[in-house]
């Protein structure tokens, strides 16, 4: 905690120092004080936009994780399906999500849907690949036993492979929780008037740089809290499961 405070103070001091020494105009780099002021004056508006972003992030995270986990299980079942899907998945990651945002807005409109879709696209891959990795690394001794015991593929999946892969799934989910807000914000930049991304774009256009920084700050804090909450929830679930 002390290191965090020290770090924050150092950064703020450097920030203020750069402004004094370089004589930067506020529309290029607002002072920490100006950002705090903007945050306070626009608190109601920022909170409203943050609410939209958080909703998109949570819905996208849940939907994307579910899809990613389901795909990993399907690929874990069938080597052939995995062989077909793996290259497609990798290829899908070569497309920059930024490039997809306008198309998604075109298809899904200016509401929440394209932002959620964007978040799903970002969340999906780390969850699917981490979980699949775990599903493919079940201890051989347990698999041998299961085969000799006459277990079916579905029960082996349910009772051995999935539980053994839960820590890997948790790793993917923790990673995805950090990235999820990026998806939502990119979606908001491109279309619509709601959410922190939209607020930033509009403020930027009107040279209200202090408001951009204030929104950015709220986004960062929100992301940290969201990622932390996911990590704590996963830890609780896993320790109850005894893995």
């Amino acid at each position: 905690m002390r290191t965090v405070v020290t770090l924050a103070v150092t950064i703020l001091a450097l920030w203020q120092g750069v402004i004094w020494l370089a004589g930067m105009p506020p529309f290029l780099l607002p002072s920490p004080l100006a950002v705090t002021e903007a945050l306070w004056l626009n608190r109601a508006e920022i909170a409203r936009h943050a609410g939209f972003t958080l909703t998109e992030v949570m819905l996208g995270f849940i939907l994307g994780s579910t899809l990613g986990a389901a795909l990993a299980v399907a690929m874990g079942f069938s080597q052939r399906l995995a062989g077909v899907l793996r290259p497609i998945l990798t290829f899908s990651q070569t497309i920059p999500v930024f490039a997809l945002a306008p198309i998604l807005t075109l298809w899904l409109g200016f509401g929440m849907a394209p932002k959620i879709a964007m978040t799903v696209l970002i969340v999906f891959f780390p969850v699917a690949s981490a979980f699949l990795d775990g599903l493919m690394r079940t201890p051989q001794a347990a698999l041998d036993l299961a085969q000799v015991m006459g277990a079916g593929r579905i029960r082996i999946m349910r009772h051995l492979r999935i539980p053994a892969a839960l820590p890997s799934l948790a790793t993917g989910l923790r990673l995805a929780a950090v990235y999820a807000p990026i998806g939502a914000v990119i979606g908001e930049w491109v279309g619509g008037a709601r959410g922190l991304g939209a607020l930033m774009i509009h403020a930027n256009g009107r040279m209200k740089t202090d408001l951009v920084f204030a929104a950015l700050l709220v986004l960062s804090v929100m992301t940290v809290i969201f990622a932390r909450a996911v990590a704590i929830a996963l830890h609780r679930l896993l320790s109850r499961y005894g893995v």
Partner: protein, 264 residues
């Protein structure tokens, strides 16, 4: 002579290198057959062939097995998130037959099982998985640890759990793949006594690299070397349901003979 419990005839390669010369192993029903040999000579491959498992070697020949089988290996393969009882009943869980014990209509029994006696009255219903598991856990001496997770057990206790799990499967043919090699000498001797008692009247194939173990437990001893499989002269009969004493002169003599055979 009754039909063989299992047999392996053929040879195996790993890549281009031969793993073992042509072998002809016929497992007679009843008693303990010890397959003794140094590491890397293909003992476990033969056992895995009988179990129907992937071996990683190329095998040319014929494998037969006429009986259902249970497996216990050096790695006990315990499931870390299941307690001792959960691990012992793993087979039932994986076959989807564990739920039978939750039927309240026949406490302690499953309704589909055969109930003998007139109208089934007074007859004991077949034991449900939970009751059987509890009995077996008691038999291996872990009654007070039935709800411990594997992480909280010693190496010997883990192998006891694995033994109870093997017994829970209740198969006539039991394959043991160096189950006690990772244990200290004292625990190993105790496990040998316990296994000899609890696996009596089953057909057992014990794969081991320890001549002392073969000398204590083998009703029939087969030596596997690079040159092939050699049948050792049958040792004197074992006391019923027990291992031979580890310090008896004839056991020590047999151990020395087997060691000489392995060094040859």
């Amino acid at each position: 002579m009754t039909a063989a419990a299992a047999s392996v005839r053929g040879r195996a390669w790993v890549g281009e290198a031969p793993l073992f010369a042509p072998v002809d192993l016929v497992l007679e029903p009843g008693g303990w057959t010890c397959l003794l040999g140094p590491s890397g000579v293909g003992k476990s491959t033969i056992l895995r062939l009988i179990a129907g498992l992937e071996t990683g070697a190329r095998f040319e020949g014929e494998v037969t097995r006429n009986q259902p089988v249970a497996l216990m290996a050096q790695d006990p393969g315990l499931i870390p998130w299941l307690d001792v009882t959960g691990n012992v009943t793993l087979g039932a869980r994986l076959r989807g037959t564990l739920r039978a014990s939750f039927l309240s209509k026949y406490p302690g029994g499953r309704p589909s099982g055969p109930i003998e006696g007139p109208d089934g009255r007074g007859a004991e219903p077949p034991a449900d998985p939970a009751t059987r598991a509890a009995r077996l856990i008691k038999a291996v001496g872990l009654a007070d640890r039935a709800h411990h997770l594997p992480a909280n057990l010693s190496g010997g206790q883990r192998q006891r759990t694995a033994l109870a799990r093997t017994l829970f499967e209740d198969r006539p043919l039991v394959l043991l793949d160096e189950p006690f090699s990772a244990l200290d000498a004292r625990t190993r001797a105790q496990m040998q006594d316990l296994a000899a008692r609890l696996l009596d009247d089953r057909t057992v194939l014990l794969v081991t690299h320890d001549p002392a173990e073969a000398a204590r437990l083998g009703d029939r001893i087969l030596l596997l070397r690079g040159t092939g499989l050699t049948e050792w002269p049958r040792p004197a009969p074992r006391p019923k349901g027990a291992a031979r004493p580890y310090d008896a002169p004839e056991v020590l003599a047999l151990q020395a003979e087997l060691m000489r055979g392995m060094m040859a």
